[in-house]
Each structure stands twice: as structure tokens, then as C-alpha cells.
């Protein structure tokens, strides 16, 4: 199995091993981006086996690309029937504003790729309460969205966040000055006078969730507000093994 992380650089672990050694004549390369939410598991039920947990070698591990839906209570039915695909933050374009990855999970520069699966989510193992997982970084989201469609959804989110969380804007400067000059009174009254600029993002997410592309496939974006803007979460229906 081709593994980008093993090929040239590894984008995790200690800071030093993310850089190739230039003294040995190798080209110097920085860390590569990947979805840091995913992780590998070698102790799982092979989908074509006897239904028992077995230890597998590292070349046959499965990758956790979807996670429990923490946006609903644990005792709800939705918790058992839905999963979350997390889109991570990325920092290579700017550090001044919030920015989420525009790579569909599995297409990141340092994603684990399984040539047999050809960028499709193919279930290979059962883990985490009967959930199905593949042997690559490709998530179940790839069954519903193409890279282009995914990028079309995430890019406006990044644009809205870039506009609303930028430091050098007139609104931010005036807000700060008024707050100081009025001894903090502006802070108390501004919430009634100025609408929260991040409400634009809530409106956008609600609009996107109404698109047939998402609605027909029963997938939904969870507003980043609910995750503290730490990740964009897609809710997909669970593909569990009964």
C-alpha cells in the first residue's frame, strides 16, 4: 500500500522528523498537511472474516475517518445512526484568521492512500461499536461529495471567517476604541446595536444544508459554532455492520 507519510516526510511526531536532512543532499521539505483527526487501528474485525477481533499488521490497519456524533445525546437514536466526519483547521495560508481544510478527507497531501480503493470509501474492517472503516484516509463523505463540491462548500465558510475574525478591520479598531473610551459601556450596549457578524456563517450553513446535494444524501454540516470553531463537522448516516 502506498503511504505518502512514509515516502518522504512525516507530518507528525517530533518537530525534527518532519524535515528531511539537507546535509545528506536531500531536498529540504517542510511538513505536509493531513487530517490530524484520523488514526489507525490494527485490532479490528475483518469484514470478510469470522466476526472476531484480530490483530493485523500495520500494512493492513484501518483508518478511523468518522467519529461518534457528539452533537446529540448518547442515549438518543440519532447517536447510533449517525457519524461525524471532521474537517480540520489548516494554517498554511494564514495564521491571523480561522481557516478550514478545503481538501476532501483522503485527498490531503499526506493522506493515506490505498490504490486498490481508488479514492473511494471501501469498508474493510469493523470497529467502534460495529462501524465500518476503510484502509485509507478516504471517509464516507466521498460517497456523496466530490472534491470540487466539497471545496465549493468550505471556501465560503473560510471567506466569512476570514472577514469576521480579521484583526485589521475598521470594525475591530472602532469597537476596541469605543470600548476603551466609554470605559467598557460600549461592550454592554454594542450587542443590542451591532449584529454578530458570525451570524452570516450560521445563515450560510443553514442554506447549504437545504441544498439537494446534502439533503437528498442525508448529510448535514454542523455549524462550526457548536464545535467552538475547532473543526467543521459533517453528519453522515452511520454505516454499521449488523
Amino acid at each position: 500500500m502506498y503511504n505518502v507519510l512514509n515516502s518522504s516526510t512525516k507530518a507528525s511526531d517530533s518537530p525534527n522528523n518532519s524535515l528531511a536532512d539537507d546535509t545528506a543532499g536531500q531536498p529540504v521539505q517542510g511538513p505536509l498537511f493531513f487530517n490530524y483527526h484520523e488514526f489507525a487501528e490494527t485490532f479490528y474485525i475483518d469484514i470478510q472474516s469470522d466476526g472476531q477481533f484480530h490483530e493485523h499488521d500495520e500494512d493492513h490497519c484501518i483508518y478511523m475517518t468518522h467519529f461518534p456524533n457528539i452533537y446529540v445525546p448518547q442515549d438518543s437514536q440519532e447517536f447510533n445512526t449517525t457519524r461525524i466526519v471532521r474537517i480540520p483547521r489548516r494554517f498554511d495560508t494564514t495564521l491571523e484568521t480561522l481557516c478550514f481544510s478545503t481538501c476532501l478527507p483522503g485527498t490531503e497531501p499526506a493522506a493515506f492512500i490505498n490504490p486498490e480503493d481508488a479514492q473511494r470509501f471501501v469498508a474493510r474492517g469493523i470497529y467502534d461499536n460495529g462501524q465500518l472503516f476503510g484502509r485509507s484516509s478516504t471517509s464516507p463523505l466521498s460517497q456523496y461529495l466530490s472534491q470540487y463540491e466539497f471545496e465549493q462548500i468550505i471556501t465560503p465558510i473560510n471567506e466569512i471567517l476570514s472577514q469576521t475574525t480579521a484583526t485589521f478591520t475598521w470594525y475591530n479598531l472602532i469597537d476596541l476604541l469605543l470600548d476603551i473610551l466609554t470605559l467598557g459601556v460600549w461592550h454592554l450596549i454594542s450587542r443590542y446595536l451591532v449584529a454578530d457578524p458570525l451570524l452570516r456563517l450560521e445563515t450560510y450553513v443553514a442554506e447549504v444544508n437545504e441544498l439537494p446535494l446534502l439533503r437528498d444524501n442525508k448529510i448535514k454540516i454542523i455549524s462550526p459554532r457548536r464545535s467552538g470553531y475547532l473543526s467543521v463537522c459533517y453528519k453522515t448516516h452511520s454505516k454499521s455492520y449488523d
Partner: protein, 366 residues
Amino acid sequence: MTRLNMRRRRFGQIPVANDPDFGSEYRESWFKTVYKWLVTIDGDSTLNEERGYRSLPYVTNYIFFLGGRLHTLRHKDQIWLVVLAIIVAPMVLFSIFEANKLWNTRLGYKPLVFLFYYFWTMSCSFFIRTATSDAGVLPKNVHLAQLTNRFQIPQEYYNCVSLPGPRTAADPLSKVDIKYCTTCRIWRPPRASHCSTCGACIMTHDHHCFWVNNCVGQRNYRYFITFLTSTVLTAILLITNCSIHIARTKRPSHVPIAIFLLVYACLTVWYPAILLGYHIFLTGTQQTTREFLHYTHSKNPVFTVITPAQHNPYDTGSFLRNMALLILQPRGPSTFSAREIHRPGDWRFVTVPGTHSFEKLHRSQE
């Protein structure tokens, strides 16, 4: 059950609780509701369907006042009240013994008296806001990895992850390090850190301030800087006003309070002034206190010479731009608000089992 929830339940918006401890007939008394609104010290794990201030103390070390509008830390010495007294005391003495005399002269001292009160009010206001407002608390359990083995944390999550940062000519290999918080179960954004005193991860964590009994982070850093600046200006104006009064008096022994306030202001101006200067140089090199102490391996920030950190992806190369980026950074939304109403069973208020997994450790040693 609060009145709010009783009303919501009456209209069928939330189901009746079947909690074995309380029973479906449980009704919270109005006295307890009012008391909990005034001060919430302990979280209510059994009533996980309330405003944040009722549930947050269960997963953090905060206690809340006035329905979550203000907070401080429980089980800690309330040093911030002493600091508040140090700020208030000279104003009281100045108002009683000095202000009237300076105000009623015809020598143009009124602006000095006015400015003293203006900056004193600013100092007091921003001190309270620094001490009692949200420093940038991040939600918990948002990045829960799995349900297996009692929410076991995978080995990969214990690594420090290096991701590409904005590449510049000066640093073409720029990288940003992020870590998973095993306590809060989230991938912390860069510069965020877990404060064990507060029991929460804080955005752009500068330091936990002993004097304000709160963390200084992204959402109150501008308040903290304003507090330091206004405190220094207040002390300078107090020195100026008292010096004028003493100079205009034939016998200084007739104005003992003016002399006392002069000495008081001369002594107390130094600490905030040094701290302000220290923060100006730190922000000018785009470092938070925590990053600087980590970089220099020092425990005493004041006596350590501030030097720019190597391979700092946040450093723009311009002292003023660096300073502006940290001091003027938008407060951003409150991501774990004490005022917000949350749904029953909200995972952010759930205490998940501890982080240790002997099975995983055993397997990794094989």
C-alpha cells in the same frame, strides 16, 4: 428544575426527566433558582439541560455569579479582591482629602482631576472584566475519538503534530505545532493551552494570572493590557495631583494624606509599569508569556531578557504589526458560553473516563 425549564416542559419542548435520584416529580424551589442565579458554585450533573452557568462548574473550576455574567475560581485565594482594594483605596482617600481642593483652585487643575477619575474608572472597569470575563474557554469533548474501551485515546493523539505554516522567504519550512488535549478531548488550536487551575483549554493562552484569579487569553488580553495601561496612567496622575497639592502648600506637614498618596502611588506604579513594558516587548516579538517561558526554559519572566523566538511562524518581522496582532486580535465568539442554553445530554458537559489505557500501552510495548 428551574422555572424556565418548568415552562418549557409544560409546553412539551423537553421531556420529563426520569432521573432516579430526583424522580419525575422533582421541582426546584424558587429560592434555589434565585440562589443559583446569584452564585453557582457546584455544577448540577443531574440537571444537564440548563444554561451553561449551571453546568460549567461541573466540568471546570469556575464559579459563576449573576446568571453567568461574572466568574471566578473556586478553592482559590481570592487575591483579586485585595488587588481591587489596592485600586479603590487611593481613589477614596483622594476624593475625601484632595479632589475638592484641587478642583476649586483657579489654576487649571480641573483636567488633571478629571483625567485621574477617568483613568481610575477605566482601570477598575477593565480589572473587573479581566478577572471575571471569559478568557477564551474552549469546549470539551468535541473531538472524542471513539467509544471503544471507554473512550480510549489513540496513540496518535499523544503526538505533537506539525502542520505546514504560512511559508515566507525568511522561513520556507514554516510549521505550526498542535496538540490534543487529553483532558478536554479536543485538538487544541495553535497557541491554546490547558490551564489546570481553571480546568479548561484557553484560546491564545498567555498565562494564568494569580492577581486576577483568571487566565489571560484571547478574549481578555485586550482588557488586561488596557487595565495595565490605565493603572499606570492613574498612578502617574495621582503622583502629579498630589505633587501639585504639596507644592502649593506652605507646610507639607499640613497635607499628610497627599504625602501618603504620593508615596503610595510611587510604590505601586512600578509593578504594573514593568508588567506593561514586559508585555509590550513580548507582543512586539509575537510571543505569549507561556511561549516565551517555554522557549527560554525560565520560571521568572520579569528577570529574563526578551529575545525573539527562532522559527516563530507568527512573527511578521515588524515590531508594531506584531504588537497590534496580539493586542488588537478580535475577542472572537465565546465558544463555551456560560449564558448559553444547552440541550439535555450535551457532550460538552459530560465527564468522560480518564485517559489512561493499559491495554494500549501494553500493545505498544510489544
